[in-house]
């Protein structure tokens, strides 16, 4: 019951004239879903960038972007100000001169930003936005998600190597090492809920949580490990070593400008959404909500489930943003040390607790 079938029911209920039957064919449905998902992503990414600047402003007792907004809205409150700021940024980046350094390795240099963005787009395929609202419900959902997140590692390495400069190479190597060593605790932290749900498909995990209880209760440690590893995967502070401004000027993005830089920037925020969405699905019960089945009408049920999912995801996004603006940056070796020597054992511990919990609950 993916989004495509939802739309087909919509068309049937709206009484589609038989002449337009081709609309319901697979290819057209795929395009419609694609447009829907890409639209959702770009809107949410633009909103996230604006939200991040406002949240950081609030934490630092300043106003954040106010200029590019509707005057009378600006006057009302800081949170309504500057709503067109991200759109203005996007246009600025589009217009900016997109220079390519001379000695750059053309193919690799151009491919990297594209790969970064496609990697994060591909992970939206399995995210369950609502009751039956996921593009496809792969039964290897979680493994697919991890596979796609490891493609981003390659893109950053290509960016580092392609820009052919000492600084970006160092930045590229560092971020690759970081993302690999944080992928493993992330995988094990994910295994807790998967173990309890008994299936890898994201929709089944959510249904399992709807039936019993949210999976955060037994594996709270797994949740914390996942959040920390998630921030490391998306290169956000306190793990933003690759772009450690003070040391390596800008890490692997040093040589990029204009639209190519925007791609890296957008990818970071769309990864932020993906990490929070996965955290909600696996630990906070995705779109499941105690009172959900009480609503009779299926259309409203789907809508409510979508809203519940969004609320939970944005709670985690705000948590990640809060972490970003309160912690200094970790050093390379401390980061590795922390990843392998503290996160990994806790992830195993969480797996153990989840296994015991399953054994006990089965016995009861």
């Amino acid at each position: 019951m993916g989004i495509a079938d939802r739309i087909r029911n919509l068309f049937d209920s709206a009484g589609l004239p038989p002449a337009l039957d081709w609309v319901k064919s697979d290819i057209v449905m795929m395009l419609v879903v694609l447009v829907l998902v890409i639209g959702f992503i770009s809107v949410s990414v633009l909103f996230l960038i604006w939200l991040e600047r406002k949240v950081s402003a609030r934490i630092q007792r300043r106003m954040g972007p106010m200029l590019a907004g509707i005057p009378w809205l600006n006057a009302k409150s800081m949170w309504l100000g500057g709503i067109f700021q991200t759109a203005a940024d996007a246009i600025k980046l589009l217009i900016k001169e997109d220079l390519t350094p001379a000695e750059v390795d053309k193919l690799v240099y151009f491919l990297a930003p594209m790969l970064v963005f496609t990697a994060s787009l591909m992970s939206y395929v399995v995210i369950p936005f609502g009751d039956g609202l996921s593009v496809t419900d792969l039964n290897v959902g979680v493994v697919y998600l991890l596979a796609v997140s490891s493609i981003a590692v390659l893109a950053i390495m290509m960016a580092g190597w392609g820009s052919n400069s000492k600084y970006s190479l160092l930045g590229g190597l560092r971020s690759v090492a970081q993302m690999i060593s944080y992928e493993i605790p992330m995988i094990f932290a994910l295994l807790g809920p998967v173990l309890m749900a008994g299936s890898l498909s994201m929709q089944d995990i959510v249904k399992a949580q709807a039936a019993s209880h949210w999976f955060i209760i037994p594996n709270i440690i797994g949740f914390i490990v996942f959040i920390i590893a998630g921030t490391a995967e998306t290169n956000r502070p306190p793990f933003d070593l690759p772009e450690g401004e003070s040391e390596l000027v800008a890490g692997f993005v040093t040589e990029y400008s204009g639209m190519k830089f925007a791609m890296f920037f957008l990818a970071e925020f769309s990864n932020l959404f993906v990490v929070s969405a996965v955290a909600t699905t696996l630990f906070l019960g995705g779109w499941a909500f105690p009172g959900l089945d009480a609503i009779a009408d299926p259309a409203i049920r789907t809508l409510v489930s979508f809203l519940v999912f969004l609320v939970k995801t944005y709670v985690i996004i705000l948590l990640l943003m809060w972490i970003r603006w309160t912690f200094p940056r970790l050093r390379v070796d401390q980061l590795m040390h922390f990843g392998w020597k503290t996160l990994l054992p806790f992830a195993f511990l969480n797996l153990l607790i989840a296994a015991i919990w399953v054994m006990v609950s089965v016995r009861m």
Binding site: D105, V108, L138, V143, A147, I151, W161
Partner: protein, 166 residues
């Protein structure tokens, strides 16, 4: 599995493989290797081995190609091109590979392979897990591979270790 899909993926994979072998710049060869891995993952998906396709991307594209790229970066000065070997090696190499390929293709195509339609048991991710841990199925090799990986891990660290920090 309509044929157009198969032929497009197959051609993509073969071309990417040829690029791995022929490209002078090692880094570009590495990238085409990653493209091959992606193509092979698509082939698995076509053969209804979805779990394997995901694992292929996760391990090959995510880990093994990263190690190879690290090796390339550590042993190459920026954007250094490999010097072309003498032609004679390539002719003999191509000859050997070509002949072997020819024989294998002839053997493969003359056989009477069943062409689809047989009752195919789709392996869910769960079934693979059960098979791995089922005593009389794959439990022993599973443990052996675990030990092998550990040995490889320790061995790699020992071999690549700096003299100083013994």
């Amino acid at each position: 599995m309509n044929p157009i899909l198969f032929w497009s993926i197959a051609v993509f994979v073969v071309i990417a493989a040829l690029m791995v072998v022929r490209l002078p710049n090692i880094f570009h060869a590495g990238l085409s290797l990653i493209a091959t891995f992606g193509g092979v993952a698509a082939v698995y998906a076509m053969l209804d081995a979805h779990f394997l396709a995901a694992v292929q991307v996760l391990i090959y594209v995510g880990a093994i190609s990263v190690i190879l790229m690290f090796a390339v970066m550590l042993t190459q000065h920026l954007a250094q091109r490999e010097v072309r070997g003498s032609m004679s090696r390539h002719v003999s190499g191509a000859l050997v590979a070509g002949l072997f390929g020819l024989f294998a293709v002839i053997i493969v195509n003359t056989q009477q392979w069943p062409s689809g339609g047989l009752p195919f048991k789709y392996l869910q991710a769960g079934d693979i897990g059960k098979l791995f841990l089922d005593k009389n199925a794959f439990l022993v090799p599973f443990e052996m591979v675990a030990i092998l990986l550990l040995v490889a891990l320790v061995g790699a660290v020992m071999v690549a270790r700096k003299e100083g920090d013994r």
